[in-house]
Amino acid sequence: MNDSTLIRSLHFLLHILTALLLPPLIPGLINKVKALVAGRQGPPVLQLYYDLARLARKQAVLSRSTTWVFLAGPAAVVAAGLVAALLVPFGHAPAPIHFQGDMILFAYLFGLARFATVLSALDTGSSFEGMGAAREVTFSVLTEPALFLGFAALARATGSLSLSGMLASPGFAISRATGPLILVLAGWMIVFLTENSRIPVDDPNTHLELTMIHEVMVLDHSGRPFALVLYGASLKLLVLGALIVGPLLPRTSHPGLDWLGFYGAMALLAVAVGLVESCTARLRMNRVPQFLVAGLLATAFAFFLLQA
């Protein structure tokens, strides 16, 4: 085994371990930041790990109206998230799986996760969960094109048709693509907040009254299925976050530094999300589409700027 193979397999191993173990840390960080801003001590940063361990030991209760679809939903969400995590580069090393057109698969894996969650919510027969499901699919109609227009702009700028090429392309900061890149990332930040059901689109804090989308859909999950739901949500934070921090990372001389840079950037992103949640309120539901259209327009402008 020569050196490059060794380094590649190390990267691969680190990538898998990051995808498997890191996600629950991100919501913990966000919550800690929110607590500190509010002047509270807040739950420990590792709280979600404890929660997951506890839920994995608990028994789930199934409603009499549910079918196998109810349990398949969370499983599909985590499976899709894990496969998506293999497609996106963490930092500058190419992702474990990369091929031409993998960004399309990446986007559709999230579509799959959404479809599965929505079906699992509708399986309970509850109208509250139906409302959450309806909102989820409604907002995705605007986030999907924003995601794809962002991919189009990056593909145009880098000439690559793979996530690893688009996101890890060096020298963004000095090229003429800087302006469009900022627009793409601004648009994707809106997609990130919406897809992860964060403020200002949805309030993840509470199960009732304030929350409108994601937490509504998973009201009836308990035990292991709920553990999968929570883990899947944190995985989504990591994977979509990697999409945003990837193009911003400076390229360093050492791969180890690259990884450290990636972890630092993810932590910064979590802090940023926590700060946004601390200083803004959730939008009214009928205002959300305007917010999403802003994201769509930002990515569309990015593309047209590159075109000019």
Binding site: A60, T66, D220
Partner: protein
Amino acid sequence: MILLALCALLAAVSGVPGLWLRTGGGKAACWLLGLGALAGLAAAGLVLGGGAPASHALLRTPLGTQGFLRLDAIGAWFLPPVLVLSCCGSIFALGYWGDQREGSRRLRLLFGLTTAAMVVLVAAAQAMTFLLAWEVMAVTPFFLVTAEDRDPATRRAGWIYLVSTHSGTLCLFAAFGLLAANSGFLWLPQAPGFAASQRGTATFLLLLVGFGLKAGIFPLHYWLPVAHAAAPSHISSFMSGVLIKMGILGLVRWLCLVPDPPVWWGALLVVLGASSGLLGVAFALAQHDLKRLLAYHSIENIGIILLGLGLGTLGKSTGHPALQLLGYAGALLHVLNHSLFKGLLFLGAGSVLHATGSRDLERMGGLARTMPITAGAFLAGSWAICGLPPLNGFVSEWLIYLAAFRGLAFARSSWSVLSLAALAMIGALAAACFAKVFGVVFLGHPRSPEAAAALEPPRSMRVPMGLLAGACAAIGVAPALLAPALARAVAATGLAGPADLGGLAHLGTLTWVALPLLACAGLLWAWSRRGARSRTGLPTWDCGYAAPVPRIQYTASSFADGLVSAMRLVLWPQVRWRRVRGLFPSQRGYHSHVPDPVLDRLAGPGLDLAARALSVLRFFQSGQLPLYLLYILLTLVALLVWMVA
């Protein structure tokens, strides 16, 4: 090619034994169609597998120049969906439309004839054969659609179908006439420069209207929702799965003949595709009738196919073989995929209709518990039509996306970015629509006593659904197996370079993503199931708001309301409801309906208006013979005067 002739013959006579048999006519038809399908599939396999040369003149004309049937790679690509859906439909009919039911003989006979006409059509090598087969294929479905002709709505649907198909055929006659003046009745590649000429433009537009009426391109789609809703479900499955694809076949054949399509052709196809796709899915979202909804989804999928064709044509006219290859490959693969999953969905809708006696989504619910197999098959179809991995819909949409991404690097990239945005939005809307359909029909609690009493259909109806679902999964997980055949079909569209599909799209990689995805989901599902107990009798928790009656559940209309009201400027929904007043309101009710924009808002009122405006002409049509003789005399005198002067 004797196999193809055998296939057409067996299909054509498949309904004949049933005319005399008291029982078992359906089974005889199934066997004959099955044998015919085997022969046809073998023929298609030989051509697509490369074992036989790409063309076979079946019969020679007396002059010995050109056969009138020729199975080339494109024909061979369109043949398998026809045969598979025809077989599945006839098996499904055993349980769905039994031998005792009225009209079963007529239905079987004409079903076989339609299949045979399509087999001839895909292999037609010249205009006359094509038009003959086209007309047979276009007229017989009128009798299939009107199987339940006691219902006035069905008779109306039949008439609408007949009028639209004849208008389309008229355009085709005109177009083929123009072509015949140029190159005779044989289908020869057109000379360079013809496409850009006025005659070429006229031919293209006429063909687009003629084939577009059959394919259901928006705004020529108006017959689809009515006809598909009225026809028996296995007929809808066949019509939506393959009949409308014959319009696409026509367009593909024409695009193959033109070596240098102008750029605006591709652009027009992309625009038509984007509008068909978006409007199709938008109107589907607003429907309450299961089969109407599926019919609007066919319009959407025709839009997706047109996006691929448009991108491919742009590649052809601008000289980018990669774009042409990916665009055409995506479009052709979507033709196959859509026929599989839409056929499956219509059969599933047929099972639901069979079990509950209703097509109204608001009366369904909870069918997944009583009809688990139908539910599983319907879920597979929904999954595939939303283009979600790892089923087949994703593969073809992926190819079209790849074409659009490739097109970004070339000139005229605005068409590519339009396709991208449209495809992304169509995908999200389709997922919303099928979440609604599957959620409302199969999940939750039954909303009506009929839905509560629904039973799984007989095996003859479950088997075809299982077959189609298996085909969807197989293509989705291992698309690389189809790649050589697909590349051969695309190569027939006049590709400048080699058809190196594998070099442009790594279809094999999709398998290596799909398998871990499935394995991981399966393991997690088993893990979460082990820790769950289903205590019967516990209701949904829902924060303590246990639903007292099933009617309180979210309905199909309420699920789609956010999107429908956001698109109200396009959809123009009609809503009637009484404001609730007082403490104990007695009268309540809410009705919403989204009529078809072309048929109900444009054509219907427009034709009524025309009939009223032209009623003055009835004065001349008094029905008295002397008056008509007078007209003739006057005309003759007028002609005489004109000739002398």
